[in-house]
Amino acid sequence: MATDTKTTGDAAPAAKGTTLLEARGVTMRFGGLTAVNNVDLTVSSGEIVGLIGPNGAGKTTFFNCLTGLYIPTEGQVTYKGTVLPPKPFKVTAAGIARTFQNIRLFSNMTVLENVLVGRHTRTKEGLWSAILRGPGFHRAEAVSREKAMELLDFVGLADKAEHLSRNLPYGEQRKLEIARALASEPGLLLLDEPTAGMNPQETRATEELVFAIRDRGIAVLVIEHDMRFIFNLCDRVSVLVQGQKLVEGTSQVVQSDERVIAAYLGTPFEGEPGEAEAAEVEAAEAGAKEEGK
């Protein structure tokens, strides 16, 4: 099967199975605190992988390790077989782009300029070229603008290109962040809670957007707390608890794993009230409600 997909999938939805990102034994310690402990993760091309876990599980720290913002204490991250350099801008140049949990747009730049900044690694025009303004400069600027507008069109912000990004509504700021990340022409997009603070419709729209990104041949690794979003979207879900990977598998596997439920909701303690007691409490509550009316 594997060979099959490799031969057919050279168009947009890239061949599943070629490993894009491989994190092996990533550990991040801050002093005595181990935020991420020996985590392995692989993302293959054409895949949408979810990373979930309770607050403080180390998901964002793990993201920062992947993108060079932190240098992992142990372990290594490879992208397309090469070890990632420990500098964020080199990671972006290598082909991994990200968004931030708390939106980090260039708020006093226009929407279009934000996306143009995203194209920084894919263009080369330096200071001399900017000052001398040869034909090459104009060509590169035109291409950049065209691609940026295409991306804005893709996320549905083309008509707001000249607005200041800080004036966009929240949901559109998230979209713009995604467009900015896509502008660096990544092979892998890391989304850090892309639907935080969104209403259900916006979340649905984001879901569609992530599928569309996947269809452009870009693998996606997404952190999210919205479980419906994750389980609708992801081919594979990885659960991080207290810095350690607990389980990894398809939505069904993760959903039915008791340890995951325990991590989110807590484990039953000794002498937990049995079903009979629970029913009693429920009945009592129902009675109280009736009286209240």
Binding site: L69, F100, A130, S184
Partner: protein, 611 residues
């Protein structure tokens, strides 16, 4: 429903007791009478500068009153909708009438009070002075009775519920001055628009030449009062927005025209006195513009920037062939310029490489330190406390004049009947350097690298994650800013005949020093081209013209900074970004589409014509 819904309609004017048509007539007539008063004798003796004793001929400060009165009357007519004057106020004439009447009141009463203060009492007022005083008050009273513009009032809305009386009063003032949305411009043929640009630039040159040529402090103060109210009125009338609309359509023409206008300045002068001022302003402004790359675009607070000017000046002095130079070489000027720029760049990289890893406040402190280190090091390299390079505190005197292709800039030249003295020559040379710096600034700012600078300023972490090599990009900004300052320094060394270490300090009474440079950028407008040029011109001229307030200069300067930052945090000239940043609420006042209405980056034309 608890909020007041009637507020905008509650007051229809600042002085609602006067019926609107009476108010309008009073304001216009007041303007005419004020203008007329300028032709009367205001005082009996010519002891007051400018000779205000002659009837039938406005002298000195009376000219300003005349101009203010005529403008008030013209805008009064425009508020009637008289044909031929309506173009003056595309955004409503009532606010501008008030501002101009206040300007007339300001200049007139300033003159009258100065007469009584300097000559000793009101007895020195001739009847003409009383007439002027009353006429200018009349114009203001009339203007106060003008009704608020309904559309503008609607867009401004009611004061916030629970506002203090002071806030409510401020809101009422804003109502009186609020411009209404710009009338759509009637497109005229291109040649006419270019003629308009020429007119604007000519006006700018005229105003600047008048300001720089004011022979005594009183006249300059009157000029500043009138200029401030005049610019405010032009802005409220929508003329500035209209002008930037046109100039942004012909950016190249405007830029070229502005430089032609600036180059014409020495030809308007009969002697070298004000060309000296002009060249000093240009040096100051050019360095401020270089600093604007570092501070305004890349957001790196550099408190020791003047050191790079010093490096350029010393480098040029050392290779100028001056006898005191420790290197006995004499480079041609172009080579000296390159040497200065490269030396500054090397210093910029040397200082930037270790310090640019710091962020924000730390960088400011470290650059402040390096700025002082430069001055002290230069002071010490005198052969006694260190190697003999810079001749210590004696500096390098007797720097020979620049000789470009056989043209001696130290000598007087006659061009087409105009005599250009030494400083006029250097003014033109410096203008060339300014042109280069303007070009570099505008081109680098609007490019991949310029966007990277702004991105770093906005959010360094996000910029790094977007693939920007933060350190490299910041170092480029730092080195570029340094070499532009060095460029200006090479000319400065020759203009001043001599370089000494002391002027290159953090703060001092004479610009350029680091504090003044930063102030010029912040006051003028960060990230713009015309802002620092205008800021530098004002910061140089005000202390130069008002020698009497020398002792309080830094105090007044501080007060001005505080006031401006409170009222107009984006500086006198706002970049398009900052206009949106600080005045989001007013966006609708700028017209249907703020971005389209204000055009690209900024209006280069007006101020550059002068600076």
């Amino acid at each position: 429903m608890s909020t007041q819904t009637t507020s905008p309609a509650e007051r229809t004017a600042l002085l609602p007791v006067i019926p609107p048509n009476v108010a309008r007539a009073t304001a216009t007539a007041g303007g005419v009478l004020t203008a007329a008063s300028a032709f009367l004798a205001w005082t009996w003796t010519s002891a007051f500068p400018g000779d205000l004793t002659i009837s039938g001929y406005p002298g000195g400060l009376q000219v300003l009153t005349l101009v203010a009165g005529v403008l008030t009357a013209l805008f009064g007519l425009a508020s009637y909708g008289v044909r031929g004057t309506r173009w003056l106020a595309p955004a409503g004439a009532n606010g501008p009438v008030l501002l101009l009447a206040l300007g007339a009141l300001g200049t007139t009463w300033y003159t009258l009070l100065a007469i009584s203060a300097e000559l000793g009492g009101l007895a020195n007022w001739e009847p003409g002075a009383w007439f002027a005083a009353i006429a200018s008050v009349l114009a203001v009273v009339g203007a106060l009775g003008l009704p608020f513009d309904e559309k503008a009032a609607a867009s401004l809305g009611a004061p916030a519920p629970g506002a203090t009386p002071l806030q409510q009063a401020w809101h009422t003032v804003r109502l009186a001055l609020a411009p209404r949305p710009l009338r759509a411009a009637k497109r005229v043929p291109a040649y006419q628009e270019i003629l308009i640009i020429v007119g604007i630039l000519g006006l700018g040159l005229l105003v600047f030449t008048y300001g720089i040529g004011t022979a005594y402090g009183e006249l300059f103060v009157g000029f500043l009062i009138l200029a401030a109210f005049g610019v405010a009125a032009a802005s409220k009338a929508g003329l500035l927005a209209r002008a930037s609309e046109i100039t942004s359509r012909y950016r190249g023409v405007t830029m070229a025209g502005a430089f032609v206008a600036a180059a014409l300045f020495p030809f308007t002068q009969t002697d070298d006195q004000y060309a000296t001022v002009g060249v000093n302003i240009l040096i100051f402004a050019t360095v401020a513009l270089g600093l604007n790359i570092v501070v305004g675009l890349a957001g790196l607070l550099d408190l020791g920037y003047v050191a790079f000017l010093g490096v350029g000046a010393y480098a040029a002095a050392l290779v100028s062939g001056a006898t005191a130079s420790s290197i006995g070489v004499h480079f041609p000027f172009w080579a000296a310029v390159l040497t200065g720029a490269v030396a500054s760049m090397v210093f910029g990289v040397a200082i930037g490489a270790p310090t640019l890893r710091l962020r924000g406040d730390y960088l400011a402190i470290v650059t402040l330190g390096f700025g002082e280190i430069f001055r002290i090091a230069v002071n010490n390299m005198d052969g006694k406390s260190g190697p003999d390079v810079t001749n210590g505190s004696n500096g390098i005197p007797n720097i020979p004049d620049v000789n470009i292709f056989g043209l001696d800039l130290g000598a007087t030249h006659d061009i087409g009947g105009f005599t250009l003295g030494r400083f006029a020559n250097y003014y033109l040379l410096m203008l060339l350097i300014t042109a280069i710096v303007v070009l570099v600034f505008s081109r680098s700012g609007d490019s991949r690298i310029g966007r990277a600078w702004v991105a770093i300023r906005e959010d360094e972490t996000a910029a790094l994650a977007m693939g920007i090599n933060g350190f490299k990009v910041k170092l480029i900004a730092f080195a570029l800013g340094a070499s532009l300052a060095g460029l200006a320094g090479t000319v400065q060394a020759h203009v001043q005949y001599t370089v000494v270490p002391d002027p290159y300090q953090f703060a001092g009474p004479v610009p350029p020093n680091s504090a003044f440079l930063l102030a010029a950028v912040v006051l003028g407008g960060m990230g713009t081209i015309s802002g620092p040029l205008l800021g530098a011109a004002l910061l140089y001229l005000i202390p130069y013209k008002l020698q009497f307030m020398q002792d309080y200069q830094l105090l007044l300067f501080g007060v001005a900074l505080v006031v401006l930052m409170r009222l107009r945090p984006e500086g006198m000239i706002a970049s398009r970004r900052q206009k949106l940043e600080f005045h989001e609420d007013d966006e609708e006042l700028l017209g249907p589409d703020p971005v389209a209405a204000t055009g690209t980056e900024d209006s280069v034309g007006l101020s550059k014509a002068g600076a």
